[in-house]
Amino acid sequence: MAAWSDRHPIIFQANRFRLLAKTWISFGRGSTLFSKGQATGELLLIELEDVTKSFPGMEKPAVDGVTLSIAKGETLVLLGSSGCGKSTTLKLINRLVEPDGGMIRIDGVSVQERPILDLRRSMGYVIQDTGLFPHWTVAENVGCPLRIRGIPQSERRKKSFEMLDRVGLPPETFGKRYPHELSGGQQQRVGVARALSGDPDILLMDEPFGALDGVTREALQQEMERLRQELSITILFVTHDLFEALSLGDRVGVMHEGTLQQVGTKAEVLNRPATAFVKTLFEKPAKQLRVFQESKEGSPAV
């Protein structure tokens, strides 16, 4: 009875821990990936340099001097509670928000110098509420990044079918449906398929699974992991969920009140928290994890 056990709250929590434990073990064994704020890869794709953004009527800047770089093919997760500036940081990259100061470069070119539509069309964008167009079918939604570039219908159809297949939705069944005829998880799969259909170099994901129930969410996270390996695309993933951050990213950036507290591998943020905030953030789950590990394997993993 897989369905029952998946949904049982205790088993479900245990599953989450298992996922986290895998991560724990992996960096426990061979922890060689170290760097501070700098991506390890040789190709820097996205660079943020001392980026600041304030919104009118707000006391503190939403984003305060953030410096960050993401390597080609890397997945970086920005983690933080709501209002910490992580979503704003993401929107600065596709210029849904324009910075007050600092510099953002992609492949060495300032985003301010690129035509805004070209810039956005070169990235996939996935948001929590899916933002699917309710008046278009699933296939039309998936094909729309191509449509706005004037790519003909037949090609769009082919591509959107391919993408639907890729996210695990049989196009013959789902292509003609409307978004409201799909479950939340299916809708978000369509959202991901839409973001990928334009063959972007970069995928920006803003709490994409935040509104989904635990089981669906986990299934999608696994799906994401698979896609990431298949596509070797660069991903900036924003979440407030610790477990999600630790299970998905190559590296994790922790944000708090507009500032970037620490960027590093999962091992780094867990073992060597750079600030008191990061320490408190990971204290509790780290402890729970140790208990879990002890009961499971008889001895702590670290």
Partner: protein
């Protein structure tokens, strides 16, 4: 029936389709400009709200000096009314689009225009269509009032039914307007439902089917006479005369009579703007060139329109002469010879009461007036040549005064609810109810001779018009007009039928000869 069809077509096409389309063309771009600009938005909504609060009749009155009478001011007024619901719904729709949808459109890289075209417009359409529905219903309803400025439409039936006291006409107009509104509402509701995001039109086939049926019915019914009549109007090289009239039986009958007479005796085409409204509206229509002529009463023209002092000693002929020169100077219009009767105010009462008391003149009433109940029209109680002046001239003061419409007045005196009324001396109901008319022995009421008032320009343009009108001089006496009024008011004849019967049988027994004279 062809008249009904063309009226319905007029109501549908001219007074609904055109104003609603115009309002869409104004309101939608406006909504796109203002919806995310708070100051402009509140200005636009505020202005259209103010327009909406103006009562329909007041709006038509405002437009009268600017756009005159006829279809144009009605279309303007209806367009103004239709703007608010469309604008309001469009703004609401655009403002309430889900934030996430717009954000993802931007994030994906839709240009501003693509976002508008592909996302915002289609998603707001159902609500916008809802606004168009409201606007259409308002238009169909308010359009029935535009009959008062001669714009035609189903209101013509309602208005004629009211002023001729013909319930069937009234119901015809009102129920046709209601049915039209219901049909259009259903059509638009279906369109709105089909446009709702994620709707599969195939599942609404029965509604589409019914809509198609309604549409076919509506178009078939309204367009057929339009197509038929347009071929008639084209060979009109001989000129067009527009005849107006005020809004009571005698004026409508006279309008028809004049129209038939001109059609028979000249090769001019006549357009009827009958039942236009009160004195002032007819006068404005004439002076602004919307109509070429109408029948006025000398006393009314002198006192109400030209505001000239009255010389009690002036003879009726002098008054006509005086009027002619005044109209000529002030309005470039001419007053032609009187038709031969006077329609004056007259105090009137049940015959048996008059005979019992031996009352023959208004002076006879002076002593008994404090015991009498009187019923007058609102206009009569206000006008200086009405009750105020009359009370002064005869030292009358009645026991009580009742404000009665002309339709009610005669019945009220007949059923002993009032004793004296301020009747119109030519009214057919004086005969019907066998009422006695008191003589104006102190000559208080000025002469109210019926005269054609015509634009000089029209007379210059169509010489045959003047000779035809002059030929009518002294041809309709008091008895004749009273009989015509009686035929319409009491015998419920159609005004045009009554006028035609009068022309053929009674006085001018030569229609067959004159209809053959036009040169075609």
């Amino acid at each position: 029936m062809p008249e009904f069809q063309s009226t319905l077509a007029e109501h549908f096409v001219v007074l609904t389709l055109i104003p609603v389309s115009a309002a869409i063309l104004i309101a939608l771009p406006l909504a796109f400009v203002v919806y995310n600009r708070p100051v402009l938005r509140s200005i636009a909504l505020g202005l259209s709200n103010i327009v909406q609060t103006i009562p329909s009749l007041a709006m038509l009155a405002f437009l009268l000096p600017l756009a005159g009478i006829g279809k144009l001011p009605a279309i303007i007024a209806l367009t103004l009314y239709a703007i608010l619901p469309i604008l309001q719904n469009a703004i609401t729709a655009l403002r309430e689009l889900p934030e996430s949808v717009l954000e993802s459109a931007d994030g994906i890289g839709f240009s501003r225009l693509q976002r508008l075209q592909m996302v915002e417009l289609p998603l707001s359409l159902p609500l916008i269509v809802g606004g168009i529905r409201t606007a259409t219903t308002i238009c169909v309803g308010v359009a029935t009032l535009s009959t008062f400025i001669g714009a035609g439409g189903l209101g013509d039936f309602i208005n004629r039914g009211l002023s001729l006291n013909r319930m069937s006409l009234l119901l015809l107009g009102a129920s046709a307007a209601a049915l039209l509104a219901l049909c259009l509402d259903f059509l638009l509701a279906t369109i709105g439902a089909a446009l709702a995001p994620g709707t599969r039109p195939a599942r609404m086939s029965w509604r589409f089917g019914f809509c198609g049926f309604l549409l076919a019915l509506l178009l078939g019914f309204t367009l057929w006479p339009v197509a038929g009549s347009s071929s008639q109007g084209d060979d009109d090289a001989s000129g067009l005369v527009r005849i107006g009239s005020k809004n009571f039986t005698e004026q409508i009958v006279l309008g028809e009579l004049l129209a038939l007479w001109i059609e028979q005796n000249t090769n001019l085409h006549v357009e009827r703007y009958l039942n236009l409204g009160g004195t002032v509206i007819c006068h404005q229509a004439l002076t602004s060139g919307e109509i070429d002529l109408y029948i006025e009463y000398t006393g009314t023209a002198l006192l109400t329109l030209l505001d000239r002092p009255r010389h009690p000693s002036a003879s009726p002929e002098d008054v006509v002469e005086q009027l002619n020169s005044a109209y000529g100077e002030q309005y470039d219009c001419a007053v032609l010879p009187p038709l031969g009767f006077e329609n004056t105010y007259a105090l009137s009462l049940r015959r048996e009461m008059a005979e019992k008391n031996g009352w023959k003149t208004i002076s006879d009433l002076t002593r008994s007036a404090p015991q009498l109940r009187a019923g007058f029209t609102a206009e009569f109680m206000e006008r200086q040549d009405g009750l105020p002046g009359l009370s002064e001239a005869y030292e009358l003061s009645f026991q009580s005064l009742h404000d009665l419409g002309p339709e009610l007045m005669y019945a009220a005196v007949d059923s002993d609810e009032v004793d004296v009324i301020g009747a119109f001396s030519t009214d057919g109901r004086l005969i019907e109810f066998d009422l006695a008319v008191l003589e104006d022995d102190r000559r208080f009421f000025p002469p109210y001779q019926a005269v054609p008032v015509v634009r000089q320009e029209s007379l210059r343009q169509f010489p045959s018009l003047e000779s035809a009108l002059r030929e009518l001089a002294d041809k309709i006496d008091h008895q004749a007009i009273t009989r015509l009024n009686h035929a319409v008011d009491v015998e419920k004849q159609d005004p045009r039928q009554a006028a035609r019967a009068f022309l053929t049988s009674e006085l001018f027994d030569k229609p067959s000869q004159s209809t053959t004279t036009p040169n075609k």
